[in-house]
């Protein structure tokens, strides 16, 4: 499929005239999704999808057009549509596409993100895994009254990008996951917990751990109630840390920095976090869910250190934002599929792990609030000022051990304050779906609002 996609994008950019730059991106995906409920298959979907996106730059004006199909009759019109759209955009001297020199500036990581194995896994095995996952979760603890959902999904994704300036890249990867959500308790006292496992093929998955996680996370919150407002040190669960890193990633986006929309504006070289904080975006680490050898413009990805020992080193950039900032691309162009032109974003944000395990961190904290999950991340965070206020549930920690479960409270602080207040980074690097990696994090006092 890779070869066909490359042929397709080459065909499009081959039509570029002398006074325009053309980039074409094509993607293809084969997906299987299984949902089971009460011992039977509820939904089984097999799907093949693909599409093409074309970016045209004429005198600095950029136009974009896409089609959600690889059908020749629909693909045929995309280039002309993108050309027409370019007429309406304002010229921008930084809009030129990346060059072959950009593509050769760093070596391409040799990642093995494709599992041939996945294609040969029979559908019945996928169904069996989902059914076993549900069964295991339902049977682990008498306090679990039901399994809200249990599912398996996989995807084989391939893409190709080519430009009239000679940049070309193809990549492919497989992903595979299972997840389960458990319901514990009754009526108004119901608590839910989620568990999952990810890999490149079915054999990588660990459904038993997913089931145990879901059960533990739902049952340990049984009897949760609001607590009184207080200031308290906070311990973030790896899943929550991952979400918070997502906010940080948005604030370290070079496009936001160029437009003055980040709390880190002009702070390169300054202490923005505690000395124990080192933050890296490294898509060349194959363990990361977002690992990729090339970025969305076909340039090699690379390891970008953003904060080192608490000092801000820089922002993530694509070709256009990097040129405007005068620092060049960091190979961080991303796109939400063929329907959007390349933006900027992290793929594999991770904090450098510290020396202590989660248990040691609990002991170190003594008394704290352990945050198992947060809600309202998008509505409750101001990416410009860094203010946040989030709904939270979790457990109080007393004398280093989990105590009363807590729900319906909020925690509030600002991202800059929180970074400076990091007390301890856990050793438990946890590879999770999404563009960031989790671990346990202990932060100094925050405002908890409750009853």
């Amino acid at each position: 499929m890779n070869t066909e996609l490359l042929t397709l994008v080459r065909g499009i950019v081959g039509k570029a005239t002398a006074d325009e730059q053309v980039e074409a991106y094509a993607a293809h995906s084969l997906d299987t999704d299984v949902k089971v409920f009460e011992g039977a298959v509820e939904e089984m979907a097999v799907a093949e999808s693909g599409g093409v996106g074309v970016r045209v730059v004429v005198d600095g004006r950029m136009g974009y057009a896409w089609v959600g199909s690889l059908a020749p009759d629909l693909v045929a019109g995309v280039l002309d549509e993108a050309r027409d759209n370019a007429r309406f955009a304002a010229p921008d001297e930084w809009n030129d596409l990346p060059t072959v020199a950009d593509a050769r500036a760093v070596p391409v990581a040799d990642l093995h993100l494709w599992s041939e194995d996945l294609a040969s896994v029979p559908t019945v095995d996928k169904v069996a895994l989902a059914l076993a996952l549900e069964r295991t979760a339902a049977g682990l603890d008498p306090r679990v009254r039901g399994v809200e959902s249990a599912s398996y999904g996989d995807a084989a994704m391939e893409s190709a990008v080519a430009s009239s300036l000679g940049v070309e890249a193809t990549s492919r990867r497989t992903v595979c996951s299972c997840s389960v959500s458990a319901l514990a308790g009754e009526g108004d006292g119901t608590r839910t917990g989620y568990g999952f496992s990810v890999g490149r093929t079915l054999a990588d998955l660990d459904p038993d751990t997913a089931a145990r996680d879901a059960i533990e996370r739902s049952t340990r919150l049984l009897g949760a109630a609001p607590v009184s407002s207080r200031r308290v040190p906070v311990i973030f669960d790896p899943l929550v840390t991952r979400s918070l890193l997502g906010i940080l990633g948005a604030a370290l986006n070079g496009e936001a920095a160029n437009k003055g929309r980040t709390m880190f504006l002009g702070r390169e070289g300054e202490d923005v976090a505690a000395a124990s904080v080192t933050l890296v975006d490294d898509p060349t680490d194959p363990r990361a869910y977002g690992a990729a050898p090339y970025d969305a413009e076909g340039l090699p990805t690379r390891r970008n250190a953003l904060i080192v020992d608490g000092v801000l080193r820089g922002f993530l950039h694509n070709t256009s934002t990097g040129r405007r900032a005068g620092v060049g691309t960091t190979g961080s162009a991303v796109r939400g599929g063929y329907a959007s032109p390349p933006g900027v974003g992290a793929r594999a944000l991770a904090l450098a792990p510290g020396p202590r395990s989660p248990e040691e961190i609990l002991a170190l904290a003594g008394n704290a609030f352990y945050v198992q999950s947060v809600s309202g991340l998008h509505s409750g965070t101001n990416p410009v000022s860094g203010d946040f206020s989030l709904g939270a549930e979790g457990l109080l920690v007393r004398d280093g051990a989990f105590a009363e479960p807590v729900r319906e409270v909020t925690i509030a602080s600002t991202v800059p304050r929180m970074l400076l207040d990091v007390v301890e980074v856990g050793s438990d690097l946890t590879w999770l779906p999404g563009a960031a990696v989790g671990l346990t994090l202990l932060v100094g006092e925050m405002a908890l609002s409750g009853a």
């Binding site: 809600s375 989030l390 709904g391």
Partner: protein
């Protein structure tokens, strides 16, 4: 989109291995979006997508496949795949004969089809908004504006003989401003949308949208951190409908009820809310963001009363859940695209107006929060716990709206909040948004009169 005989034969292929129900859903959509940022039109993008999703239901199992290949061969291959995915054998139901042509509107309910409007005219709206926002105050540092229109034509046919089509046109405009002052940078956003064409701008001038967004950001400059604790919360008309969408609407979706993931399970006929609350979901509410003629399963849009005078009257239903329950669908079967399976979704969900003057509600509140705009929210339907970001709010002190506050979240529980509604105004407004469920986003609106919730937890940042 597809000839009637081809649709019939495809349904036959879908049921060739057995099954209780088969459906062909075809969709052709096109979109235009334009974005201005930092005073410059950065991008105009156009897109097109076309394909067919086919499902086969047998018992509780649904098999699904989709294709972008609309030839009869491509459709047959997808129908085979869906049949195989349902992994069941047995006697199929008979495919009911389809009418010669699908039922449906003659065209979209748009006075001015966006495709007949030049790209120049669309881009010009962005520039008008930019200028108006910057004129508002020198403190406005950044303005971004976006225009989007989309046309979605669908065709649905199923083995029960349903054969329907719809033609949906939606237009939306968004302005977001950043204001800078002593308290830092603050953002204000306004984004009206309707199921209409370019006539959206007869109702909303780009300048007016820009001023609302700019004023929202400017208000935050002088806002102090919101208080924390349990307070009475007055929600201005339109602003709080999303809270009821999240906090109760989702729990009334029949698929979640079946999964035991709803606090409203087994509560039909019971008093679940204050007697002041009547909650309606109406896919036919003229021109609203979540409006259509037929849902994505070919069921006509309907007005469904979910809670009447505080008593739970019904859930919302799609075909799969209503067939299992032996009742008709309520017209709430929706999907993001042909690549997704339909499920129970809200459309336009709103609380009906009451009899109290909005001013009287505020005058009757000694100390509380007056919310003019909410950001997004989130709910755990199994527990009813919700959280909402407040993007524009003021303190109420001694019955008077006093100063603006910022950085607040509302948290609470849907059942609690419904019971605690203690005043409902005689005004009404709606709000457009995208509702996400299991990874699928669909356009919805929510609405409500000015109302008061006697007590909600406000999570502010005030020390």
């Amino acid at each position: 989109m597809i000839a009637t005989d081809v649709v019939e034969r495809t349904l036959g292929v879908a049921l060739s291995r057995g099954g209780d129900f088969a459906e062909v859903f075809a969709e052709d959509r096109s979109s235009v979006s334009a974005r201005l940022d930092d005073g410059r039109v950065e991008e105009l993008a156009t897109g097109r997508s076309r394909g067919v999703g086919i499902r086969v239901v047998r018992g509780e199992t649904t098999g699904f496949a989709h294709t972008a290949d609309l030839s009869e061969r491509g459709l047959a291959a997808a129908a085979e795949a869906a049949a195989a995915a349902s992994t069941q054998a047995g006697e199929p139901v008979q495919v009911a004969a389809l009418p010669d042509a699908p039922v449906g509107p003659d065209g979209p309910a748009a006075a001015v089809l966006p495709e007949t409007v030049t790209k120049d005219a669309k881009v010009a709206l962005l520039q008008r908004a930019d200028a108006a926002a910057r004129e508002r105050s020198g403190s406005i540092r950044q303005v971004s504006a976006a225009y989007a229109d989309g046309r979605r034509r669908i065709l649905v046919a199923n083995s029960d003989g349903v054969f329907a089509e719809d033609d949906q046109v939606r237009t939306r405009f968004m302005v977001s401003c950043v204001a800078e002052g002593d308290t830092g940078l603050h953002t204000g956003t306004e984004a009206p949308g309707r199921t209409v064409g370019f006539e959206l701008f007869d109702e909303f001038e780009p300048e007016d949208i820009a001023r609302v967004a700019a004023d929202r950001a400017l208000t935050l400059l002088s806002a102090r951190p919101a208080p924390s604790g349990r307070l009475p919360v007055v929600l201005k008309r339109g602003a709080g409908g999303v809270l009821f969408h999240e906090a109760c609407g989702h729990g009334l979706e029949a698929d979640l009820v079946r999964r035991d993931a709803s606090v409203f399970r087994n509560k039909v006929g019971e008093q679940v809310a204050s007697p002041l609350v009547t909650l309606v979901d109406d896919g036919g509410f003229a021109h609203e963001w979540g409006t259509f003629t037929f849902d994505d399963e070919g069921t006509p849009a309907a007005r469904n009363v979910l809670i009447e005078d505080g008593v739970l009257t019904d859930y919302m239903w799609d075909l799969v859940r209503s067939r299992a329950a032996g009742r008709p669908s309520s017209g709430n079967g929706r999907r993001e695209t042909y690549r997704h399976l339909p499920m129970v979704r809200m459309t336009n969900t709103y609380l009906l107006a009451g009899e109290t003057e909005p001013d009287a509600i505020i005058a009757d509140t000694e100390y509380g929060l007056y919310c003019v705009a909410l950001g997004g929210g989130q709910v755990n339907t199994a527990t009813g716990d919700f959280v909402f970001g407040v993007t524009e709010a003021y303190l109420i002190e001694n019955g008077v709206i006093t100063e603006p506050v910022r950085a607040a979240q509302l948290i609470g529980n849907g059942s609690d909040a419904l019971r605690q509604v203690d005043a409902v105004g005689n005004d009404f407004d709606t709000w457009a948004g995208t509702c996400g469920k299991e990874g699928q986003g669909v356009p919805v609106s929510s609405g409500q009169p000015t109302l008061r919730v006697a007590e909600l937890t406000v999570g502010g940042t005030a020390a």
